[in-house]
C-alpha cells in the first residue's frame, strides 16, 4: 500500500472515500443552488438574503465549503503528484493550494455569517 505524508487521508483508500463523500455533498449543493437560481428568474435581494439567512442553508453551505476544501485537496494532491516530479516545486504547489483553500473556507464563513 502506498502511503504519503501529504495525502489527506494518509492512504489511497481513505482519500478515495473522502473524495466520494464530499463529491455527493457538492453535487447536492450544486443541483440545489443551480435549481433554485433557474427556478427564480426574478430573484430579489430579500429572497436571496432570506435563503442564506436560514440556519439550514448556512449548515448546508458550510458543509459544502468544507467539502470543497477536502475535495480540492485530494484532487490537487493527485494532480500534483502525477505531473510535478521535482519534490520542492510539488511541495510549494501543494502549500500554495492549501493556503488558497484555507482562505476560501475563512472567506466563506465570513460571507455566510456576515462578518
Amino acid at each position: 500500500m502506498v502511503a504519503s505524508v501529504t495525502s489527506l487521508g494518509r492512504n489511497g483508500l481513505y482519500d478515495w472515500l473522502i473524495q466520494r463523500v464530499t463529491a455527493v455533498i457538492l453535487a447536492s449543493y450544486t443541483v440545489f443552488l443551480l435549481g433554485y437560481l433557474v427556478l427564480s428568474p426574478d430573484l430579489t435581494f430579500a429572497q436571496w438574503s432570506g435563503l442564506f439567512g436560514h440556519t439550514a442553508m448556512r449548515i448546508f453551505s458550510l458543509l459544502a465549503l468544507l467539502s470543497i476544501g477536502a475535495h480540492a485537496w485530494v484532487g490537487l494532491w493527485t494532480i500534483s503528484t502525477d505531473y510535478i516530479k521535482p519534490a520542492g516545486i510539488r511541495v510549494c504547489f501543494q502549500a500554495a493550494c492549501g493556503v488558497v483553500m484555507f482562505a476560501y473556507v475563512v472567506w466563506g464563513v465570513e460571507i455566510l455569517w456576515g462578518l
Partner: protein, 124 residues
Amino acid sequence: MDNKRPVNLDLTKFSFPLPALTSIVHRVTGFALFVGLVFLMYSLDLSLESEQGFATVKEGLDHPLAKLIIWGVVSALLYHLVAGVKHLVMDMGIGETLEGGRNGALIVIAVSVVLIVLAGVWIW
C-alpha cells in the same frame, strides 16, 4: 526497473482513447473550478452584503465578459459533475469493461454538452 527499456513520452504522438480524454478534462475542469471559485465567492459576498451589492452583481452579470466567465465556470462545474457521477456509477460496478468505459465516456460527453448548451441559453 530496467532503465534501458525504450521510452516514448511524446504526448503529441499519443493517440488517446476517449475515456483518457474525458478523464484529463475531468482533471482540468477540477483545477479550473478551484481557480474559478474566486469569482463565485466574490459574487456571493457582494450579493449578500447589501441591496446595492445585489444590484451590482445583477447588473454586472449583464456584461458580455461576465457572462462568458460565468458560463465558463458553470460549464466546468457541469462537466465535472457529470464525469464525477460517472465515477460513482462505475464504483457501483456498472460499466467497468473496456466497452463500458468507452460508452461511459460517450455518455459523459453527450450529457455535459446538452447541459452546457442549456446553461448558455439560460445565461444569455
